[in-house]
């Protein structure tokens, strides 16, 4: 007997009621977001496109860096590789094939880099990842020089803004699905253990190097695909733009602003950040970097745990207040509960 597909899929992944609900909500949001180009074009579409672009990058960054606490500044290296695969191949091959090649190139680079560097941790990894992006950029510049091309390459294909938007949306959806799947898999659990205490992870039987490399490859591949999708939009690709360290920093800041311990955390950082960036660059075009820097400082001081942290604190606070109120009624006295939670609130605000 053959089971209906949905049923056998459901059995394979064993969804709980809550998960089915969240998936349904996610699907609805996806459809709503997909309709944006139909109701608006121009300015709103371009902002929505930016948001999707950074969501794809920040979420895929978080897949690896969130659970492991390895801060990677190499996003630009993989993004740029993806862009360059498209730029070099656009005259020779169809665009969809190039996207696939970009993914493979990003994955290959990530395997090499991962095997070489994931044994170093902490600040050494951060510095290495930053250096990597710079190294790849220099190699590209040199290659272009040797090959005798111009300082940049043109990527001219026939693609509308709407199509770009939908491509980014599809990519983002895939990233979320993969992230969700990892989160409930053994691999995701292994990564969380590694992020908490690598010694315990090793002695619990986890091949930590392999787990980290797999996640790093997944995360980097998505950055490369994002680069491949973005190449035609930028139409002129040169090393300083494709491998801009600024992009790597932006991605990290957005992810941290949102929160890296939830899959949807980075999204909550990307949206305000993109809007803020629009506001700043529209009104103070000459002072963007300055204002951006000031904003970063404020973010770090005021919401160190990201928007997700703020939300969860608020929820916890509310629950505690409700609980202690309930306890107060039940016990018929004792002001310690609410006072304590107020104190805790005051403390956490000043922490």
């Amino acid at each position: 007997m053959r089971q209906p597909l949905a049923q056998s899929l459901g059995a394979a992944v064993q969804l709980s009621g809550r998960e089915t609900r969240s998936l349904a909500i996610a699907a609805l949001i996806f459809v709503a977001v997909a309709l944006v180009p139909l109701i608006s074009s121009g300015y709103l579409l371009s902002i929505a496109t930016s948001i999707l672009f950074y969501t794809a990058l920040a979420t895929s960054w978080t897949l690896f860096s969130g659970p492991t606490n390895y801060i990677s500044l190499a996003t630009a290296a993989f993004f740029g590789i993806g862009m360059y695969v498209v730029a070099w191949g656009i005259e020779l091959m169809p665009y969809p094939l190039l996207i696939l090649l970009a993914a493979l190139a990003g994955a290959a680079l990530a395997v090499v880099v991962g095997l070489a560097t994931l044994r170093v941790s902490g600040v050494y990894f951060v510095i290495f990842s930053l250096g990597l992006a710079e190294l790849v950029r220099q190699i590209m510049t040199w290659l272009q020089h040797v090959l005798g091309t111009l300082s940049g390459l043109y990527v001219l294909i026939d693609r509308t803004e709407e199509e770009y938007y939908w491509q980014l949306l599809a990519l983002t959806a895939v990233i979320f699905l993969i992230g969700w799947w990892i989160g409930r898999s053994r691999l995701g659990f292994a990564l969380r253990i590694i992020g908490n205490d690598e010694v315990v992870a090793v002695h619990s039987g986890i091949n930590t190097a392999r787990a980290k490399v797999i996640l790093f490859v997944i995360s980097s591949t998505f950055a490369a695909v994002t680069g491949a999708l973005a190449a035609p939009r930028w139409s002129y690709v040169e090393p300083t733009v494709a491998f801009s360290p600024f992009l790597s920093f932006q991605v990290v800041i957005m992810a941290l602003l949102g929160g890296v311990h939830r899959l949807w955390g980075p999204l909550l950082g990307v949206i305000p950040f993109t809007l803020l960036w629009e506001l700043i660059s529209a009104n103070f075009p000459a002072q963007t970097t300055l204002l951006l820097g000031a904003t970063f400082l404020l973010i770090v001081y005021l919401i160190p745990n990201g928007v997700v942290g703020l939300l969860e604190d608020a929820l916890r606070q509310r629950r505690r207040l409700l609980q202690s109120a309930g306890g107060l009624l039940a016990r018929g006295g004792g002001a310690s509960g609410p006072v304590k939670s107020l104190l805790a609130r005051w403390r956490s605000r000043n922490a």
């Binding site: 064993q14 053994r186 659990f189 292994a190 969380r192 253990i193 992020g195 908490n196 205490d197 010694v199 315990v200 992870a201 090793v202 002695h203 619990s204 039987g205 986890i206 091949n207 930590t208 311990h261």
Partner: protein, 246 residues
């Protein structure tokens, strides 16, 4: 070599050097299945180093370590865990971002025996019950007392159903009441027939728990036998207390 008991762990002529320092020198011993072996000796005698060699945290400079005949000397720690050796740590190690239940589950997913999903949850919950924390599953580990953290760590080590369990000063730092509880817990494991190596300073625990003892001093074995025998040994007393005329 025919013998009545199966040998679980065979340590043969193991030496570990750190540069010029010899932490463990030509140490040999065997651990039979279902046996509880005590590894004792003064501070700095190489006990924890030996535990680290068995669990793969360190690689021996020379010698062999066999787990049911399989040479594991120099094999990586995660592979050794896969093969069936689990351990606790001298200073308790928790996974602070995970709940108590997840801390226990962490030991049962990638180790010697692997579980996942509901089976894992049930198993971890049963282990929590076993170590005396039946209702703590959803609690944050940072909220636990020291002895309770030790319980969680023990449950995590048991979660992979290890062939050999290494307890590195698991009783250290407990107050007298907690100590009683702790000893009772390990006694239970002993009754169950677990194969265990214990490094411990608490002598009455050694007396009541261990079938046999190895006494180390300055990296070498100075005595071996039942706890009663070794603790009466003149050389052992000298290693702990110094010379009689000192």
């Amino acid at each position: 070599m025919p013998s009545a008991d199966k040998t679980a762990l065979q340590v043969g002529d193991v030496t570990k050097r750190f540069g010029g320092l010899i932490a463990v020198q030509n140490l040999s011993f065997a651990l039979a299945e279902n046996e509880v072996l005590g590894l004792i000796g003064p501070n700095g005698s190489g006990k924890t180093t030996m535990m680290n060699l068995i669990s793969g945290a360190l690689r021996p400079t020379s010698g062999e370590i066999r787990l049911y005949g399989d040479d594991i000397a120099g094999v990586g720690a995660s592979r050794i865990a896969n093969k069936g050796i689990a351990r606790t740590f001298q200073l308790v190690r928790m996974l602070p971002g995970l709940t108590v239940l997840e801390n226990v589950s962490a030991g049962g997913v990638f180790g010697h025996t692997r579980r996942w999903g509901k089976e894992l949850d049930d198993y971890a919950q049963a282990l929590l019950q076993r170590v005396g924390l039946p209702n703590a599953g959803d609690v944050a580990v940072t909220a636990l007392t020291y002895i309770d953290q030790k319980r969680v760590e023990l449950a995590r080590a048991l979660a992979s159903d290890p062939k050999v369990l290494l307890l590195d000063e698991w009783l250290a730092g407990l107050n007298p009441t907690e100590l009683k509880t702790g000893i009772a817990l390990i006694e239970q494991l002993r009754v169950e027939g677990r194969t265990i190596v214990i490094v411990e300073h608490v002598m009455h625990a050694i007396r009541s728990l261990c079938d046999r003892c190895i006494v180390m001093s300055s990296g070498v074995k100075i005595a071996e036998g039942t706890p009663r025998e070794v603790l009466a040994d003149a050389e052992v007393i000298r290693a702990y207390l110094g010379d009689a005329d000192a």
